[in-house]
Every structure is written in structure tokens, then in C-alpha cells.
């Protein structure tokens, strides 16, 4: 197992290099004037030599290859490049501040999603082809078809102000970590994800349903509840874990969009801000560390998969 994990970690390196190079080329080609992006209208009052000096200090005048190599060396040394726009802040600061907030939202959403999605999937599978199954799956399909940011706006319309709804939650913001502010964004993100979890749980439950060991369990005279929980559900949930791992990228997307509606200070808002300000070091950093996070989460789900399913052995 240790060797397997080690191999997977080593395999991440060429992957990161490819993504890194792709993003570097893209940001290198980003249109617009970097000096203007930082100083705005001030540029008009600067002399050409001043502008040249700023460009020199930013390093944007150096040849392409030199910039590329210096970026790679910086990353290998775990040095964080400094933001071009927010003076005195580097990628580490931005990610250190934003990532925990995005993770909070993602975890909150995941929790809501599991609490709604798995029971809904189980009920639909047990009552397959009844009106209950059809209704639950129709709701789930409508759920996956709604844009998450629109769902967020509707939640805002009905749950944060009293003109059309009830003012149960604050309309947005972080509230210094007050959980009350997290609830509505997490609920929106969670119900969105719950829809796909319910669909997956239902289909894996149905696949396991016809297996011989369930018939054996029934023949042994085990209590139906015990069969459902120990034999049926535990086998059906294994593929759900893998699919959850594959959905991390989707969860991140949902979180970015939810953040922007609720003004949640996470990675999504940081990305949009960095792009608008052409803050190349921050963009690069967000992309590289975003990729690392996804790769690591995928590795964790694969390992988890092996732990919960003794049939799987990694060598």
C-alpha cells in the first residue's frame, strides 16, 4: 500500500508539469497591459521610463523561456510568487486565506448532500418502479438540471428577505466564521450535489440487489434491516465513494459559482478577481494548487476504496 501511494505521488509530477506549462503559455498570452491592470488610470501620468522600470521589476520583459524556467524553479523551491496587484501578498497568503473557506463550503455541502442523497437513493431503490421511486428520481433529475447559481438566487429570494419569503438567513458574506452564514450556501451546494448522489446510490443499490449473497442472507433468515444495512448498503456504497472522488472537480465548480452569489470569500472569488486584475502569479498559483488538491483528493478516495472494499488490492 505504501509503495502504491508513493508511485501515485510520483506519477503526479509529469501531470502537474503538463498542466503547469499549459497554464503558463495561456497566461503568457493573456491580452492587455499588465502595468495598466495594476496601476489603472495612474499609468497615464507615468513617464515611459517609469513604465519600463515597473515592467522590469515585474519580469514581464524577460524572454518567454526564462520566465517559464524561473516559475518552475520557484515552485520547486516552494517559493510563492508575490501578487502583482495586492502589494505584500503572495500566492501562499491568498490560498492560505481562501482555501479553508472554500473547503468549509465544500465540506458543508458534502455533508448536506450525503444526508439527503443517500437516504433518497436507498428509498428509491427499495421501492423501485413505484410512484415514490419515480417522484424522487424526477426531483433528482430536476435538481441536476438546475444551474447551481440560479438555485442560489432562488434561495436568496425566498430565505433571506421578507418581501417574498422569510428572512431566515443572512443574504451573504462570511460573518467572521459564524456558522449561520455558512448554512444557506452549504444547503444550496448540498441539495445540488444530493441530486446526483441520489441517482448514483439508487443505481448501485439496484445492481447489488440481484447478487447471490443477498439471497443467501435472506435465506439464512436475517432481519431485513440487517440485510439492508450490513449486506446491501455497505456493498452499494463502495462505488459511490469513487464517484464522489471524481465529482470533486464538479463540487469545486459548484462552490465557485455559489461563492459568487453569496459573496463567500473563497477560491472562486479570488480567481475571478485575479483574472480581472491580470494577476498572473496568483492565477498560476490557484491553478497549480487547485490541481494538486484534486489529485490528492483522488488519491485519498482510491485508498479509501481499497480500505472499505477488501476485494481491491493495490500492489
Amino acid at each position: 500500500m505504501t509503495r502504491y501511494i508513493l508511485r501515485r505521488v510520483i506519477q503526479m509530477i509529469p501531470r502537474l508539469l503538463i498542466i503547469y506549462s499549459l497554464i503558463f503559455v495561456m497566461t503568457y498570452l493573456l491580452p492587455g497591459d499588465p502595468v495598466r491592470a495594476i496601476y489603472g488610470e495612474e499609468v497615464n501620468r507615468m513617464s515611459p521610463t517609469q513604465i519600463e522600470q515597473i515592467k522590469e521589476s515585474l519580469g514581464v520583459n524577460r524572454p518567454f523561456l526564462e520566465q517559464y524556467v524561473s516559475f518552475i524553479v520557484q515552485t520547486l523551491r516552494l517559493e510563492f510568487p508575490e501578487s502583482r496587484v495586492m502589494r505584500g501578498q503572495d500566492v501562499g497568503d491568498v490560498i492560505g486565506y481562501r482555501l479553508p473557506r472554500t473547503l468549509q463550503l465544500m465540506l458543508g455541502g458534502l455533508l448536506v448532500a450525503l444526508c439527503i442523497g443517500i437516504p433518497a437513493g436507498i428509498i428509491a431503490a427499495i421501492r423501485q418502479y413505484t410512484w415514490l421511486d419515480h417522484t424522487l428520481m424526477l426531483i433528482a433529475l430536476i435538481g441536476v438540471s438546475m444551474p447551481v447559481f440560479w438555485q442560489a438566487l432562488i434561495a436568496q429570494l425566498f430565505l433571506t428577505q421578507s418581501k417574498y419569503g422569510v428572512a431566515l438567513f443572512p443574504p451573504g458574506g462570511y460573518g467572521d466564521g459564524n456558522l449561520h452564514y455558512l448554512m444557506l450556501p452549504a444547503l444550496v451546494l448540498g441539495t445540488h450535489l444530493a441530486a446526483s448522489i441520489a441517482r448514483i446510490t439508487r443505481s448501485t443499490m439496484l445492481e447489488v440487489k440481484t447478487q447471490d449473497f443477498l439471497q443467501t442472507a435472506r435465506a439464512k433468515g436475517l432481519a431485513p434491516a440487517r440485510i439492508l444495512l450490513r449486506h446491501h448498503l455497505s456493498n452499494a456504497l463502495i462505488p459511490v465513494i469513487t464517484i464522489l472522488g471524481l465529482q470533486i472537480s464538479g463540487l469545486l465548480t459548484g462552490s465557485v459559482l455559489t461563492e459568487s452569489v453569496f459573496r463567500w470569500p473563497g477560491l472562486g472569488q479570488a480567481t475571478v478577481d485575479a483574472i480581472n486584475a491580470r494577476d498572473v502569479p496568483i492565477i498560476m498559483g490557484l491553478m497549480v494548487y487547485g490541481t494538486i488538491i484534486i489529485l490528492v483528493i483522488n488519491l485519498i478516495t482510491d485508498v479509501l476504496y481499497a480500505i472499505v472494499d477488501p476485494r481491491i488490492r493495490y500492489s
Binding site: M146, P147, L153, T271, V272, I283, M287, T291, I294, L295
Partner: protein, 298 residues
């Protein structure tokens, strides 16, 4: 999907005449499923609306009028107007063309890349397979939304560039699926026979392997279009990059998002349009999967 009373066709009768041809059975299975039929209906109506928008839209989608600002839905303006006095219904109709065009072309490109690489990967195996699967896993690990935001700010939304970006992050699902199919088909007698008779790899792929991957590819494409519509609307909603004057569902939701309490119709109706389009393709995809499932006929 819910058929208990179908008569079982004897196997030898299945080949006799066109009556029980694959496509006929497929169509029957598809239309027996009410949800699948509704999906096809939604998609057809949306496509017709998108194609005929210039003729059926009651107003010019970009014509502003200060007098008609933020009119609620009513008889003159079916779905109300926005803060520039533009008719929301007309803008939705025109926006359909934009969203559906991007979604369909992006998905075509995704399928083309994914299926070709999957065929090559499965057929040749070895190093080629390793490389393609390595790239597939890499593209899976890219945080899609951040990549798309950068791409759009680089090349602009509404240009052909967005097709390529969406295809670049979406092809791996098709490639994996086709590869898995090819790996099992490769050992079948008819493929081995074709090889023994000296058929070229290209011929085998096009005539023997591709047709057998068609069904799952169609299902993935249908569900994929739904995903692309959502992705594109999300990008328009974030509003990064070059802004385009033409109406887009996502950007309409963004523009109306700030006036939810004063003009709810501004962002609610575009959201409904997105939901309906995505739902249509999802219904269709689910219906196709059930109808194309060979277990259906057992």
C-alpha cells in the same frame, strides 16, 4: 423501462424481416418511456425556437427603451423587460441559439476527440494506450472552472475558442468508455476474422468497432450537451472576459441577480430556460440509455 406485459419474441423470429430490427425495437422502447418522449419534445421545441428566433421573437432583443424599463410580465411584454427596457422573452429566444450552438458544437468536438483517442488507445494498446490514458487522467484532474475562466478571459466568450476549451476538459469520459468497449470487442471472432483477412486497422475501427460503440456514445453525448449548457451558463454568469452584446442566458441571470426583490422575473425566467433545456437533454439521455440497453430485450 416499465414493461411487464411484453410478449417474448422467439430468437429465430428476431432476424426475420424488418419488423424486429434493432432500430425499430429501439424506437418502440424509447417512446414507451414517457419521460424520454417529453425530453425529445423539449429539445425539439428548443431547437425550433432557437432556429426561428429572428422570425418569432415579438421584439428586437437588443432594442432599449427607457420608458419600458423593468416592466413586470403582462400582456405587452410576455415575460417582462429588463433594466434597459428590452423584452426578456425575445432575449431568451435569441439566447437559445447562442447557448445551444455552443453546447452542440462543443459536444461534437468532445465526442470526436474522445472517440478517436479511445479507439486508438484500445486498439493499439502498449505505449500509445499508456500515453492516452495518462492524458485522460491529467485532463480529469484539471480544476475545470478555473481553467475555463482563464481560457475565456484569454480568448473571449462566444468565440469558437470555448468549444475547444470545453472539449479539452471533457473528452476523457468518451475515451475511457470507447477504450473499454474496444478492449472487449477486439477478441471477438468477427474482428479476429477481419484481421486475418488483412483488413487495415482504420477499416476495422470504422466498420467493426465504431458501430458497436455508437449506443453508449450517443447516451454520453446527450448527457454531455446538458453538462455543457450548464458550464457555459456558469461562465456567462461569472461574467469574466470579453463581454458580448448578444443575449446569453447566464449573463441575463447575472444582470438580474442584483434586482431580485425589485424585478424577480429578470433572472428567474432565464434560469427556467436553462433548466428546461438541460432537463430536455437529460431526459433524452436517460431515455436513450434505457432504450439502447441490450438487457431491455432479454
Amino acid at each position: 423501462m416499465t414493461t411487464s406485459a411484453t410478449t417474448i419474441t422467439p430468437l429465430h423470429a428476431a432476424g426475420a424481416g424488418n419488423q424486429y430490427s434493432f432500430w425499430r425495437r429501439f424506437l418502440r422502447a424509447y417512446f414507451r418511456n414517457a419521460i424520454a418522449a417529453v425530453g425529445l419534445l423539449i429539445v425539439t421545441v428548443m431547437l425550433i425556437a432557437a432556429l426561428t428566433a429572428p422570425f418569432i421573437a415579438p421584439y428586437n432583443p437588443n432594442k432599449t427603451s427607457v420608458r419600458d424599463r423593468l416592466q413586470p410580465p403582462g400582456t405587452t411584454f410576455f415575460l417582462g423587460t429588463d433594466d434597459f427596457g428590452r423584452d426578456i422573452f425575445s432575449r431568451l429566444l435569441h439566447g437559445a441559439g447562442f447557448s445551444l450552438r455552443i453546447a452542440i458544437f462543443a459536444q461534437l468536438l468532445t465526442t470526436l476527440i474522445g472517440v478517436s483517442l479511445g479507439l486508438i488507445s484500445g486498439w493499439y494498446g502498449g505505449r500509445v494506450d499508456d500515453l492516452i490514458m495518462f492524458l485522460a487522467e491529467t485532463s480529469y484532474a484539471v480544476p475545470g472552472i478555473i481553467f475555463l475562466i482563464i481560457w475565456v478571459s484569454l480568448l473571449g466568450l462566444g468565440r469558437e475558442s470555448i468549444f475547444l476549451a470545453l472539449a479539452l476538459i471533457g473528452w476523457s469520459g468518451d475515451a475511457r468508455m470507447v477504450r473499454a468497449q474496444v478492449l472487449s470487442l477486439k477478441e471477438r471472432e468477427y474482428v479476429v476474422a477481419a484481421r486475418a483477412m488483412g483488413a487495415s486497422p482504420a477499416r476495422i475501427m470504422a466498420l467493426h468497432l465504431l458501430p458497436n460503440c455508437l449506443a453508449p456514445t450517443i447516451v454520453l453525448a446527450s448527457l454531455g450537451i446538458a453538462g455543457v449548457i450548464l458550464a457555459e451558463s456558469g461562465l456567462s454568469f461569472l461574467g469574466v472576459g470579453v463581454q458580448i452584446p448578444d443575449p446569453s442566458w447566464g449573463s441575463m441571470i447575472k444582470d438580474g441577480g442584483g434586482m431580485l426583490t425589485s424585478a424577480w422575473w429578470y433572472s428567474i425566467f432565464p434560469g427556467l430556460a436553462i433548466m428546461l433545456a438541460v432537463l430536455g437533454f437529460n431526459f433524452m439521455g436517460d431515455g436513450l440509455r434505457d432504450a439502447l440497453d441490450p438487457r431491455q430485450y432479454e
